[in-house]
Symmetry: C2
Subunit: 685 residues, 2 copies
């Protein structure tokens, strides 16, 4: 459209709109470094942080020693709780040491985002509902750009199988996954106002205040600390007992509280008219992939490894939603499940693509030692065993590349390893991508090696085979245990049903056969399930055969590496990291959004609302449209400076201004947002 | 990548991937016309259809006459019910007359779609849930292409404001929109099995069988017909009475039935821990736009007209889901709300772009006359008043262009006008885009002029101003009614609150002031609501002032034109219209999907799984990737013919085959799916 010299700028521009797909370098457009530049020097900071670091390390060492000595679990838990407290104090101090000038004015950012309709509280004309937000045109466009980059970066680049599964999920699925149990917290209710509190949090607060009372006798102190540490592991009855013992009342009104009740964080509903089928809104998109694993494996011709991906909404009925987009009740997720042979996790062909990438890693060890995150190449991290395997390391690298490409400040990004006490028992390693925001470090992406836990849950609950077949390079000799039905005895007792029973017995796996023998020996009989029916078989109804067999194929339940993205949190982080005010003008807020995620790519600004501008403006607009460049015409009047400010506020990276000269000379001005540089050039439409 | 002569083919190919945005011509790639070609000639058909057409017209004329005579509503309803029956008979006959060879083998299509994982019943490893489907990699990619074309065709092309609002919706919103009442049906339940039936449908069936009993006395016949016609308008008590009177039992088991119960088609849940806030899963995405209207208007600088759009999931708890993707409980919608000054609906600047487009229109009049749809240009349709206004006509045209572009057979697409009895009372005109499938004519898109109904509902319920300001070209003289508070009387009674009350009184609109006067005069007092509080004001606490005023700006509640797309239904229709079997080979099913929606654009097929093919295949693959062309490498072995068939089955439009010659000569074969034409050419990577 533009003739030289603008062509070169436009060429650069299109590169920014679709950055190279595999490049491991940070995005071409660097983000404002104001915050870091203004931070107190590292030395000054360390003087203040030193004692806090020592306090964390002392406690970390204590826990290591306790574990080495094999001390009781309860004691270790109490020590971990203290460690957590000291870590929090250290992080708070680190945050406090950021000088005022380098902090963003969150109020001003939020005002801008609401006023320019990136997002806003939902249903506000009806008084609103906490934890629900609607994305307006700017937020929706930005989210849509962000997701299409995600699709390009992960799904297309890695050849993943994207699916779109249901939000409505029947109870048995979430029973199997552990969500109906794991997502359950105990609540107490103000008996007069109905206000709800999490029982464990309230108990912690009460113990905290008892402990910090100077009149508290030392022998009691220890007990209270133990109770605080155990707060989230008590049973319903135990909690009820403690609430009675300490006469705990509502912290808001002082009213009496109901006994602790089960409260599940999933939204419950009923599917179908009968009311018999309980369903939930999915709390994550992952289960939709797991229940479809067999079909996906078949789609992949039965071969491992492969990855499936899904973008979609998930729901959590948070007790107290807060922090804007960070803790909401309805949110968008983008999840990947990479299925891999458990023994082949440490070999990932493309790992070499990210091995030299330097990443800020905050290891569990450093966390216990009161140290900060450290920069390491992924190659070194995997070689040293810090990151469990190449597959996990590869995804950590890809996540880093994605986040920095879309505008997360690499100086405010770290990968924090889960400590053993916070990791699920089945997970073998887990790293959270955390971003520093005005709310502190926020978990934006989780990246976990979940071993074969999820698929095994569904294999057990749904009684279906979900294994992949592994073709062995060398045949293997295995021990086989088989049930041999006693045809005569079974036939005599079960008559017509005998065949069904004998087929089911013959189909039992080796481990099931072992279990059948054990049950029949111990209890005198074995209970066989066939579909909905159960049959009680006496010990004399079957024999057990043991022999060896040579196999060329074995069943494998794959391990799962799960990168899981919180889209709203990432979007908010990018907005915060891009936010600034123009030097010398406190009122001019602007967003340095990378062009690839900016809601609109280019503004078109006629200098006057004079009608004779319209044809030329329309020509430029349709020229941009035909090149797939989103644009916004602002012919609202007002000074051109004011209108530039308006486009800066919504992060539009480029602007084309048409003035009176333009009409005669067919020229226009192209302005770049970050540098505010302007070039006049002729326009060929 | 390819040197000549393939370059020209590839150029054509990329045109197909992103078809021109505004062209009003049908898509470049035409769909199989087999079905229509094989249909019985029109003349032969008309011999059989003639009597049925006459029967419809007779009844249509009868209704017209009854209306003209002002006959009671109940009688008219009964006649309409008979008309509906005759129309159904006509449509069924039309469908039956399609010769067997021209019908698609739906079983074979569904088998292909399931086997190649376009979509499949959800949660099937747990026995499945009726009405829930998951999209696999092929369906998900196709849906994603379809939605991105939708966004390009509507949102970008028309500069619409796209938003993304919440699925969880609090009760007051859906109370205001009428969904908590309107979406409610009466159900009866088998008292033994718990199976549910829609009470009105069951009543209709019972009356139907009574009427068709030859022993039914003529005087009873008329009564039963009336009851059948009124079935969906009885109250709960009336229904209960009829079920008792006719001793209606479960049609499945013959068991007793419960009394009729209210059943709402929305999924209900509870938001927040207290259980006090009832919420629903939205039954449509439209309400999310209406409740945000004020913000959207402000975003558009207060100007009309403008359109907002939303793509997202919606939910309906269907009593009996059926017909695959056509009637499901969770589905994707794409909705547009075009807001326009009610008096300016008939002037739409871009209407001329579609005025010459010939569209198959099935008018309400033709439906009553037993005629078929007729081809008309939109210009003629609007000029003659058949289509209510230019705005509505423009969207009908744009919908037609969109559907045919993505692969709907234009010969199986018609726009059916709602008859006055099926149209909501507030709607002024409504046209459904219907597609002919093996299930009959299926409504895929609704396009309604909903006047100012929706916004007015929320204005009334939420008590907020949702009007746009219209700058008048000439000032207008209007009658003003104002409330003048009696300061002394109010102050004496309400003291501290007096100011709040007087401000609220002064802010009442003319119509509210009229209403206040009426209420106070009739009841002796007027109840004023301010926020959550209510104040009872005696007649002597205010006076009413009436005068005339000259205004330059007036408040306008805009009209809404609403095109609403059912994404799953459209996707299924495109699949059916693209489905065929290769001539001479019944087993070779294939999909003639337009390249712009095909799940994968290009296959890459190495003739042998020999390792020496790999580098060249990878070169081609990354060359395609860098051009943004999705591809699938099939190195699974098997004959090349078999593999072409596999790619045809999922509708991949292009294939690149690499053979032994390729390695030496750097050439490859490019194959086009529809013509099966192959060209050998050199490859420059």
């Amino acid at each position: 459209m533009f003739s030289r010299p603008l062509q070169s700028l436009l060429r650069q521009y299109s590169r920014l709109l679709s950055p190279p797909a595999v490049s491991p370098s940070p995005p071409a457009l660097s983000l404002p470094r104001l915050h870091r530049a203004l931070m107190a020097t590292q030395v000054e900071k360390e003087v203040q942080l030193g004692p806090l670091r020592v306090a964390v390390k002392e406690q970390g060492d204590l826990i290591r020693a306790m574990k080495a000595e094999g001390r009781p679990n309860l004691e270790v838990q109490a020590a971990v709780s203290e460690l957590r407290k000291r870590k929090t104090a250290l992080e708070k101090k680190e945050k406090d040491l950021i000088p005022q000038e380098a902090k963003i004015d969150r109020g001003k950012l939020e005002d801008t985002l609401k006023r320019r309709y990136f997002y806003a509280p939902a249903f506000s004309i009806y008084g609103g509902v906490a934890g629900l937000y609607d994305y307006g045109p700017m937020g929706c466009a930005m989210k849509s750009n962000l997701l299409s980059l995600w699709r390009q970066h992960f799904v297309l680049e890695e050849g993943m199988l994207e699916i779109d599964s249901c939000i409505l999920t029947p109870e048995p699925v979430l029973k199997a996954s552990g969500h109906t149990d794991r997502f359950s917290d105990f609540m107490v209710k103000d008996e007069a106002t109905g206000e709800c509190f999490r029982a464990d949090h309230l108990l912690e607060d009460v113990m905290e205040s008892l402990v910090s009372d100077p009149k508290c006798p030392p022998e009691k102190k220890e007990e209270y600390q133990l109770i605080r540490a155990k707060a989230d592991s008590y049973s319903q009855e135990e909690l009820a007992g403690l609430f009675t013992r300490f006469s705990i009342k509502s912290p808001v009104t002082g009213n009496s509280l109901s006994p602790p009740m089960d409260f599940n964080l999933m939204f419950k509903t009923s599917i179908g008219p009968g009311g018999a089928l309980t369903g939930f809104l999915r709390p994550e998109t992952a289960q939709g992939i797991f229940v479809n694993f067999k079909r996906l494996l078949e789609f992949n011709n039965g071969k491992l490894p492969f990855a499936a991906a899904q973008i979609g909404k998930a729901f959590r009925n948070e007790i107290s939603p807060r922090s804007g987009l960070l803790r909401v009740r309805e949110f968008e997720m983008a999840e990947i499940e990479h299925f891999v042979h458990p023994e082949k996790r440490n070999k990932f062909e493309k790992f070499s693509n990210v091995a030299d990438l330097s990443i800020s890693l905050f290891s569990a060890c450093n966390q216990m030692d009161g140290k900060s995150a450290e920069s390491l190449t992924l190659g070194d991290a995997v070689r040293s065993g810090l990151v469990a395997n190449e597959t996990l390391g590869y995804f950590v690298g890809r996540i880093h590349l994605f986040l920095t490409r879309i505008g997360v400040d690499p100086g405010k990004l770290r990968f924090r390893q889960h400590m053993s006490n916070e990791m699920a028992h089945y997970a073998s390693d887990c790293w959270d991508a955390e971003c520093l925001t005005s709310y502190g470090w926020v978990e934006c992406v989780g990246c976990a090696d979940r071993s074969c836990y999820d698929l095994t849950c569904h294999v057990t609950a749904a009684k279906v085979d979900m294994s992949a077949k592994e073709q062995l390079s060398e045949p293997l000799t295995v021990d086989v245990v088989e049930v041999a039905p006693e045809k005569g005895v079974i036939g005599k007792q079960f008559r017509k049903e005998a065949k069904v029973i004998m087929d089911a017995l013959a189909a039992l796996s080796s481990s099931q056969a072992e279990a059948a023998e054990k049950e029949a020996t111990e209890k005198g009989s074995y209970e066989l399930e066939v579909g909905d029916k159960k049959y009680t078989l006496q010990r004399n109804m079957f024999k057990i055969k043991r022999y060896q067999k040579t196999v060329h194929v074995v069943d494998v339940i794959p391990s799962v590496i799960e990168p899981s993205f919180g889209v709203g949190r990432i979007l908010y982080t990018v907005l915060e990291h891009s936010f600034g005010v123009r030097e010398g003008d406190e009122q001019r807020a602007w967003l340095a959004l990378p062009p690839c995620v900016a809601p609109v790519s280019c503004s078109v600004l006629p200098l006057s609302s004079n009608e004779q501008f319209s044809p030329f403006v329309q020509q430029i607009a349709s020229s941009l449209k035909s090149r797939g460049i989103s644009h916004k015409i602002d012919d609202s009047g007002g000074s051109i400076g004011r209108r530039y400010a308006r486009t800066d506020e919504i992060g539009i990276p480029f602007g084309v201004t048409v003035d009176f000269d333009s009409l005669q000379s067919k020229t226009a001005t192209l302005r770049e947002r970050d540098s505010m540089r302007q070039i006049r050039a002729s326009v060929s439409v």
